[in-house]
């Protein structure tokens, strides 16, 4: 392979994509297993799983767009929008269960007032829990997180495709790089976070640094693989 200026641009794009995924995970409101028992605010699943679910849905959209155009902007936008649709549909239907099956109002235990709507939170937090459901601030934060995840996934996929011109190889490598960054970020927030209003969100620079190192190594390996089936 030729290691020219374009290759360096591709490496940088992959690194930026990885960083977007790493930081984006901090926005996704995940409450882990307790949230599935309406015991904690956020979506009742694991960080990596939800980030991967939304980001990779975005990757599917980006892959489809890249099969018809080489213009980077619609590809990135498609990835971001696909991921946002997935996470919003998930939070919406999940919210219905909190609202109409469990019968609990949405409330965050990390702030006294919702920064977006200004709604008071503590009176609506059920006794013995740390909040439940997906208040507006979490919903918006999740949408931003999916936007970054989808954008990041597409930004990893694009340079890989430009290097090896093999959709399956690029997709699998993009999934791999995506998951590495999502897992690193997940360790940083110790599995659960409510969104950008959560005090844990301030830890993002640590994830930024670790994702930078990890993605740089992965990007160097990824751009050297130019062959494939």
């Amino acid at each position: 392979m030729n290691f020219d200026a374009l290759t360096i641009v591709y490496i940088l794009e992959i690194v930026v994509g990885g960083l977007l995924v790493g930081v984006g995970v901090h926005f996704v409101p995940v409450g882990g297993a307790p949230a599935a028992m309406a015991q904690a605010t956020g979506i009742g699943t694991g960080t990596v799983q939800l980030a991967a679910g939304s980001g990779l849905t975005g990757l599917l959209a980006a892959g489809l767009m890249m099969s018809v155009t080489d213009n980077i902007w619609p590809i990135l936008a498609s990835g971001a929008v696909g991921a946002m649709i997935m996470i919003d549909a998930t939070m919406m239907t999940g919210g219905w269960i909190y609202a109409y099956a469990v019968g609990a109002p949405f409330a965050s235990a990390k702030v006294n007032y919702d920064p977006i709507t200004g709604y008071s939170q503590p009176p609506y937090v059920a006794p013995g829990t740390v909040g439940q459901g997906i208040p507006t601030v979490c919903y918006v934060s999740g949408t931003i997180g999916a936007f970054m995840g989808g954008l990041g996934g597409a930004m990893i996929y694009y340079p890989l495709m430009m290097t090896n011109h093999n959709p399956s190889l690029s997709a699998l490598f993009a999934i791999g790089i995506f998951l590495v960054n999502a897992v690193l970020a997940s360790w940083n927030i110790q599995g659960t976070i409510e969104g950008f209003h959560d005090p844990k969100f301030k830890r993002w620079p640590k994830a930024f640094r670790s994702c930078l190192v990890a993605t740089l190594i992965l990007a160097l390996v990824a751009v050297t693989i130019t062959g494939g089936a």
């Binding site: 309406a38 939070m91 469990v102 949405f106 208040p135």
Partner: protein
């Protein structure tokens, strides 16, 4: 946009809805994923039970495995043995269901055997009739997702550039993520703890105190599936169906080559709409339910 493409997108949405519903019921009847933490804990806090206990992995990787297995087998049969797609996908899903059965059985035996010190038994009748139900649901999920992957790669134009197994892998991950985020709440937040006060999440003090008695006799996982089929399953299906349908609808109605901007704009419109709708739901239930009566803080509701 042509009529066939729209029909295919509609079919994909319908298949995704069925896949989502069956995925959630599969996880509920096997007690996988998040609520399994309570099933696992129950015996440890003195409540041995007859609930199926399998946590093979998180739902997304598990379903990605079933869907990819089905897709790989189907793809091989279609390309190398020129088998009709429908039969090939059915055989692929059957192989995936067999994998599921092996994992489920070993998970049940392993988990319950490790809890012998807590007086948790291994019930062979539970293994006999619940495992097949789990496998059947896994079959439906794998079949539907592989069908979606087949439609996306072979029939729908523009053909998706990813191979069938990779698409199945991604949709498998996504359906698992949705099932674990949506349907699990109905099982974990409602069905497992029906005797506590209605209208609140699980108090931490009650962890592990799951309901062990059924409408008649002792509760088992088939009873849980019966309950979760009423809301958790269908809503999971709706979530996954919306994801698949809305994502593909916008690139089918608007040509991704000439009308990429419109396709993206339409996606953004859906996103904004769903954000506003969640705000509406939040506001309406706050008004309807009101604050918790025992609240003693100084922040006004």
């Amino acid at each position: 946009m042509d009529a066939l493409s729209m029909g295919l997108v509609a079919a994909m949405g319908a298949l995704a809805t069925v896949a989502g519903a069956s995925e959630d019921i599969e996880s509920d009847v096997g007690s996988q994923s998040n609520p399994n933490s309570q099933v696992q804990l129950a015996a440890q806090v003195g409540n041995p039970h007859r609930i199926y206990n399998k946590a093979i992995s998180g739902e997304p990787p598990a379903n990605a495995l079933w869907a990819t297995t089905a897709a790989v087998v189907a793809y091989t049969l279609i390309t190398k043995f020129a088998m009709p797609a429908l039969f090939a996908i059915a055989i692929g899903a059957s192989v995936a269901a067999l994998f599921n059965g092996v994992f489920s059985t070993s998970a049940y035996f392993g988990r319950n055997a490790s809890q012998r010190r807590f007086n948790q038994w291994i019930y062979l009748d539970i293994v006999r009739y619940t495992t097949t139900s789990i496998m059947a649901h896994a079959w439906i999920t794998a079949f539907c997702i592989t069908c979606i992957a087949y439609i996306q790669t072979q029939i729908l134009t523009p053909h998706h550039p990813f191979p069938m197994p990779v698409i199945a892998l991604i949709w498998g991950l996504t359906v698992g993520a949705i099932g674990s985020s949506v349907g699990d709440i109905h099982y974990g937040g409602e069905r497992e703890f029906q005797w506590r006060l209605f209208g609140q999440g699980l108090n931490t003090m009650l962890s592990g105190q799951i309901v062990r008695k059924a409408e008649a006799g002792l509760r088992n996982s088939i009873d849980n599936a019966w309950f979760c089929t009423k809301l958790g399953g269908p809503l999971t299906g709706l979530g996954f169906g919306l994801t698949v349908f809305l994502d593909n609808w916008r690139t089918t109605v608007f040509d991704p080559v000439t009308q990429a901007g419109l396709a993206i704009g339409m996606g953004l419109f859906f996103v904004i709409l769903m954000n506003l709708y969640n705000f509406y739901v939040e506001t309406s239930i706050r008004k309807k339910y009101g604050p918790y009566p025992g609240y003693k803080g100084d922040i006004a509701a």
